[in-house]
Amino acid sequence: MPLTSECLILSALLFGLGVAGFIFKRNLITIFMAVELMLNAVNLAFVAFSRVWGMDGQVFVFFVIVVAAAEAAVGLAIIILIARNRQSLNVERVDFLKL
């Protein structure tokens, strides 16, 4: 199938980059963004697969997006809370394991 496997490789690449960001970013928000990046990579994989295995992949993309939205809402709320209590968004400064 044209483009499918290329897209898959691309998604793997993006996922890897997301992981790298996940590990190397210090700013909570950007770490979060890295996570979103990984989700996007997965979505790409899903869509690519849906070319081969039928529509269900795209449906899953929806669910992923919905979950991402929910996660963003809650996660950002938490981040705001942390920022309020810690005056810092650096994960390495947030290590009391409690708010």
Binding site: M1, T4, S5, V19, F22, I23, F24, R26, I31, V52, V91, E92, V94, D95, F96, L97
Partner: protein, 660 residues
């Protein structure tokens, strides 16, 4: 509409009443007593009316086949086991229905007067209606399972009502006692049911009895399956109907309000056992052993409790023991194979014993809560109506010729002697009991209403009860006088209608009826015995009031024995209760529960805590390190899941699988 088709209405009505009163009383702050009485009387009255209509239809349409079974919905369905909410109707049921709803209604009316000044008025009537519901279910049930529902339900209501004044320690204890003792019997009953299901693969009366009747009868002394079943069922009956050895709860049950004693512990619930035995007569007929046991137990109980009744001073306890002995009579009849006679006595007994209790209640009411007969006397003139009705009832129970008790007891005695499984000893016991019955009943009458007033005028200002209490008394009085003529043997000019009415159920008069000359002879004997009892009582308690004390003094031992009810309670306490307590305290509570279960739970928790305390050190709190761990984990998981693909890829000379 045909009640025949809608049998469920009859029990439904009281249930509705109970629901309304219970809920409204609980949740509406001001739910007036008038409303409570209206609902309670209305519901029971309506269901009584429904029963009357039912009788009319029964006679008019003659439903076929009998028993007339209606299946409403399936209650339990497990595998091939089915217990439906099926109601059935036949002559026996009709008799029971009439008794339950009719007498029940009268007692409801009475209660509105008697309980008027009590707290928890709505509670009382809710319970009472609930009881009526369960009793009706019990009577109408078409299978053992549903019958058991009613059986337990009435047990529950009796518990609730005995402990109605639950702030009174003795009352709540009595309630518990009743409940627990009944459980013992119920256990037998349940075992019986299981055995029945195992044998016949069903609990529906029709199926069970249908198959059973095809089995061969067992010989006397043979403990075959049927015998075992019957004995187990009878164990349940002894519990519910207070027979030896499980009678102990009934006397204490007198802690409840008097109407309760009248309705539950005299007229209806305690007769459930008799009903159940009669209902499953097919089984019992097939096992002479069981029949003999029933008869023997009945006779023994009758005699035994009658003797106790002789010396009791609490008016209600006397009646309680007399109830026990009368129930003994019924079982005696059933055991002798004269089920019709038993049921007949059940009915008449429900009339006059309810009457007795209600009258006693009226007396207690008049004396402002006094129950000790030694503090009564000379009330005859003061509460004339009560006295009159009480007299009627006493004559009836003592078996004065022409009164209902006479006929029913006569029938039983005849059966005991000449019945299919009768015997001279049974007859003798019955006869002697009759004597005692007359004696203690008249003792009660005399001590209460005649002789010198022994109560304190100043605190107890005697007054006749209100009309709402007297009306039921009179109706019941009429019934207990006239009720017997239904079964009067031919020579009394009666038509023996009752037996012929029940014939379809129990089969045409099983007991070979002796010649009428015989009958007259025995009737005469019975009457004579009753008279003797009356005379004795008169001699002791009116002619020479000091005689009893002397007698008691001369036979101190026997007297104490009787006064303390043969120390049965103490015996049970020593043999059953205390060991049980010890066991549950030391073994089950301290050893099993505290040490075993709690120990295990706490141990697990503690170990988890300890483990966490060690693992804690891994947590630096630096999220990035966690991130790394997460990634490692993900990598591992992926590698494990997709190992085949990976090996294929890592294999030498493997081209990365581009899809083309």
């Amino acid at each position: 509409m045909l009640i025949l088709r809608y049998l469920w209405i009859i029990p439904a009505l009281p249930l509705l009443g109970a629901a309304i009163n219970g809920l409204a009383g609980m949740f509406l702050p001001r739910w007036p007593n008038k409303a409570v009485s209206a609902v309670a009387l209305g519901s029971t009255g309506l269901s009584f009316a429904a029963v009357l209509e039912l009788v009319r239809e029964f006679v008019h349409y003659a439903p076929y086949p009998l028993p007339w079974v209606r299946q409403y919905f399936t209650w339990i369905a497990a595998g091939d086991f089915r217990a439906g909410f099926d109601l059935q109707l036949d002559q026996l049921t009709i008799v029971m229905l009439l008794v339950v709803t009719g007498v029940g209604w009268l007692i409801h009316i009475y209660s509105t007067g008697y309980m008027a000044r009590e707290g928890g008025y709505y509670r009382f009537f809710a319970y009472l209606n609930l009881f009526t519901f369960f009793m009706l279910v019990l009577v109408l049930a078409a299978n053992f399972a549903l019958l058991f529902v009613g059986w337990e339900g009435v047990g529950l209501c009796s518990y609730l009502l005995i402990g109605f004044w639950f702030l009174k320690r003795s009352a709540s204890d009595a309630g518990k006692k009743a409940f627990i003792v009944n459980r013992i019997g119920d256990f037998g009953f349940m075992l019986g049911m299981f055995l029945l299901y195992r044998t016949f693969g069903s609990l529906d009366f029709r199926a069970v009895f249908g198959q059973a009747s095809s089995l061969p009868a067992e010989s006397f002394g043979q403990f075959g399956l049927l015998t075992v079943v019957c004995l187990l069922l009878f164990a349940g009956a002894t519990g519910k109907s207070a027979q030896l050895p499980l009678y102990v709860w009934l006397p204490d049950a007198m802690e409840g309000p008097t109407p309760v004693s009248a309705l539950i512990h005299a007229a209806t619930m305690v007769t459930a056992g008799v009903y159940m035995v009669a209902r499953s007569h097919t089984l019992f007929r097939l096992s002479p052993t069981a029949l003999f046991v029933v008869a023997a137990a009945g006779a023994a109980t009758a005699l035994f409790s009658a003797t106790i009744a002789l010396v009791q001073n609490d008016i209600k306890r006397v009646l309680a023991y007399s109830t026990i002995s009368q129930l003994g009579y019924m079982f005696l009849a059933c055991g002798a194979g004269a089920f019709a006679a038993g049921i007949f006595h059940l009915m008449t007994h429900s009339f006059f014993k309810a009457l007795l209790f209600l009258a006693a209640g009226s007396v207690i009411h008049a004396l402002g809560g006094e129950q000790d007969m030694r503090k009564m006397g000379g009330l005859a003139g003061r509460v004339r109506w009560t006295w009159l009705t009480m007299l009627m009832a006493t004559l009836a129970i003592a078996g004065a010729p022409g009164f209902s008790g006479f006929f029913s007891k006569d029938a039983i005695l005849l059966a005991a002697l000449g019945g299919a499984h009768g015997g001279v000893w049974l007859y003798a016991a019955g006869l002697f009991t009759a004597l005692l019955t007359a004696l203690y009943m008249f003792r009660l009458l005399f001590l209460t209403f005649h002789g010198q007033p022994r109560f304190d005028e100043h605190q107890a200002h005697v007054h006749e009860s209100p009309g709402s209490m007297l009306a039921p008394l009179m109706i019941l009085a009429v019934l207990s006088v006239a009720g017997g003529w239904m079964a009067a043997p031919e020579f009394w000019g009666g038509s023996s209608y009752f037996e012929r009415f029940l014939a379809p159920v129990f089969g045409a008069a099983a007991e070979a009826a002796p010649a009428s000359a015989e009958i007259q002879k025995f009737a005469a004997i019975a009457a004579g015995v009753a008279l003797a009892g009356f005379l004795l009582a008169w001699a002791f308690y009116l002619w020479r009031p000091e005689a009893p004390r002397r007698l008691a003094g001369s036979l101190r031992a026997a007297y104490d024995l009787l006064l303390h009810k043969y120390f049965v309670d103490e015996l049970y306490g020593a043999v059953v209760v205390r060991p049980l307590l010890w066991l549950s305290t030391n073994l089950f509570w301290k050893a099993v529960d505290s040490a075993g279960i709690d120990g295990a739970v706490n141990g697990v928790a503690a170990s988890a805590a300890g483990l966490g305390d060690r693992v804690r050190r891994v947590h630096s709190g630096n999220t990035r390190s966690y991130a790394v761990w997460v990634v490692i984990g993900a990598l591992a998981v992926i590698a494990v899941i997709f190992w085949p693909l990976l090996r294929e890829a890592l294999a030498p000379g493997a081209v990365t699988g581009m899809v083309r």
